[in-house]
């Protein structure tokens, strides 16, 4: 019989699943740990001098301005679908007058923050992850550290701040355009009374609902920028990612999937706690 080559092979057969499980758990813990340290360093980096104002503007332009078109069309189409669907459902009960409140509440509390975060993850999050991943594998981040330049202050923190500023603003845009889409479909196409649409909205939407939407958009912004930049930063430490260009592509996919799932999970958690 050949010599065991791995730790698992040296164990009796019945113990091996435990070893694998423990191994996975340890990896998960390490991963959470490094992502936690990453988040702390990125936040500290925000307060380090000199702050890179021009980089912040560049990132605002990329994450914010660059996402306006995609947010506009997503919002318009989902608002119009909401208007149509809402109309058909409410029509059955003769409650078309509630359409304005249904559309606006759904958008402000749920769809606005969630869909904005998902669209920004897909458009800007993936790009940030790939950019940082490539900088990592081509030793550009090591080069920064060797020049005694904090990579967080220089590279990561401006992205954090830009996302925290842009995503809530994009969410607000999403809400407005979405409500306009609902108005187009409900009032202009299906003939719901415009006064009823807007007065229903005004009466049902409270400050609390808006605050909930805003809190969500901030949390989602933090989640998506944290996960996307963090995965890129640790591209070489992620198990199963491989090496070189392949690792960047795999980790980018992983970052988009992970941040989308976390947005959806946190959506539920925040709603459950704050509603």
């Amino acid at each position: 019989m050949s010599e065991p080559t791995t730790y698992e092979e040296a164990l009796p057969l019945w113990l091996r699943p435990f070893a694998t499980l423990g191994d996975q758990l340890l990896y998960l813990l390490t991963d959470f740990g490094r992502m936690g340290i990453f988040l702390t360093s990125a936040i500290i980096g925000l307060f380090r001098h000199p702050f890179r104002f021009r980089e912040l503007i560049k990132q605002l332009n990329f994450i914010g301005t660059g996402s306006i078109a995609v947010i506009f069309f997503t919002a318009l189409s989902s608002g119009m679908v909401l208007g149509l669907q809402g109309y058909y459902s409410l029509h059955k009960f003769g409650a078309e007058g509630m359409l304005g409140s249904a559309v606006s509440l759904t958008l402000i509390m749920e769809l606005g923050p969630v869909l904005t975060a998902l669209m920004v993850t897909g458009r800007a999050g993936s790009a940030m992850c790939a950019e940082i991943g490539i900088m990592r594998i081509s030793e550009q981040i090591d080069a920064l550290e060797c020049m005694a330049i904090d990579p967080f202050r220089y590279l990561i923190s401006p992205k954090f701040l830009a996302a925290l500023i842009s995503v809530p603003l994009l969410t607000a845009l999403f809400d407005v355009v979405g409500i306009f889409g609902g108005y187009l479909a409900g009032v202009k196409l299906m003939g719901v009374n415009a006064g009823a649409f807007f007065s229903g909205m005004e009466q049902s939407v409270t400050n609390h609902d808006i605050r909930l939407g805003v809190i969500k958009s901030f949390v989602f912004a933090l989640l998506l920028v944290w996960i996307c930049t963090g995965r890129g930063y640790f591209v070489q430490q992620i198990r199963g990612a491989g090496f070189g260009a392949e690792s960047v592509s795999k980790v980018t996919t992983q970052a988009v999937v992970l941040s989308s799932i976390s947005v959806l999970i946190f959506d539920y958690l925040i709603t459950a706690v704050l509603l």
Binding site: P4, T5, T6, Y7, A10, D23, I134, M135, S138, E139, Q140, D142, A143, E145, C146, M147, A148, I149, D150, Y154
Partner: protein, 262 residues
């Protein structure tokens, strides 16, 4: 933390350093109880085959990796025991030329070279421009300052990387495989440039390379890494006439013609 006089003839010292990678049984020992010293103001070449821990040695000096045990001393200061802040201060004394040059893709040649000055000094834009242009002139890069790294040849990238590494007037310059991917003529040019600059600026140079025996011409000291072991030589003849069988075999394999001549 003990600090020696900066005039100590030893710039860098490895003291019983172990370093391994991988988890548990898959663990692979790269450096096995390594001890050597690197003299100040001279050129030391660290040579060895692929995967023998040459780049790891550089990363240990820079504090980008930590040894499993042992001490890595720079001017008598143990690098692994430094805090982040102290490490950052120590790194300002290093210049590093990376294997792939590690230039920032999104910055021009000028911006790349100016980066350490802009970020680490309080010089005015005019002073920075003057200094960068002077270095670019020295390295024959004048006229390329507005190009992006992707528009440069391999040899030019190396020179830009070197220009960037030298901006903060480092005491120790580390070169990671400086001639990988260059043709023999370019390699010779780069070596001549290294020699000229080292003589002029007087820094301690540590060159990691597998370009054997070409790189030995530059060396005041040669450190051979082989299967986690280390051997130190003063010149190439010592390698060829080594008493150790595996060193002679290594010499025969890597520099057959030179070996035949001796």
């Amino acid at each position: 933390m003990s600090t020696k006089q900066p005039q100590d003839p030893i710039a860098i010292e490895f003291d019983h350093v172990y370093k391994s990678f991988g988890e548990r049984a898959r663990r692979h020992t790269v450096l096995n109880d390594i001890s050597f010293t690197i003299p100040r103001g001279l050129t030391t070449v660290i040579a060895g085959g692929s995967g023998q821990g040459k780049s790891v040695t550089l990363k240990l000096i820079l504090g980008l990796l930590y040894p499993d045990s042992g001490r890595v001393l720079v001017d008598g200061i143990n690098v692994p025991s430094l805090s982040k802040r102290e490490l950052r201060r120590l790194r300002t004394r290093f210049g590093v030329l990376f294997q792939g040059s590690a230039l920032f893709d999104s910055l021009t040649v000028f911006e790349n070279v100016a980066l350490p000055l802009r970020e680490r000094t309080r010089l005015s834009e005019e002073e920075i421009r003057a200094r960068v242009m002077e270095t670019l002139e020295q390295l024959e890069l004048r006229g390329h300052e507005e190009k992006f790294p992707a528009q440069l040849s391999g040899g030019m990238k190396k020179r830009v990387g070197l220009a960037r590494a030298l901006q903060l007037e480092p005491e120790i310059v580390l070169f990671d495989e400086p001639t990988t991917g260059l043709d023999p003529i370019m390699t010779q040019e780069i070596y001549q440039l290294f020699e000229r600059l080292q003589k002029k600026l007087g820094y301690t140079a540590v060159i990691v390379s597998h370009d054997i025996p070409g790189v030995f011409d530059l060396a005041d000291q040669i450190i051979l890494l082989n299967h986690g072991e280390v051997d130190v030589f003063n010149d190439v003849n010592e390698i060829v006439h080594s008493k150790k069988q595996y060193i002679r075999e290594f010499a025969k394999m890597t520099m057959g013609d030179l070996f035949a001549r001796s």
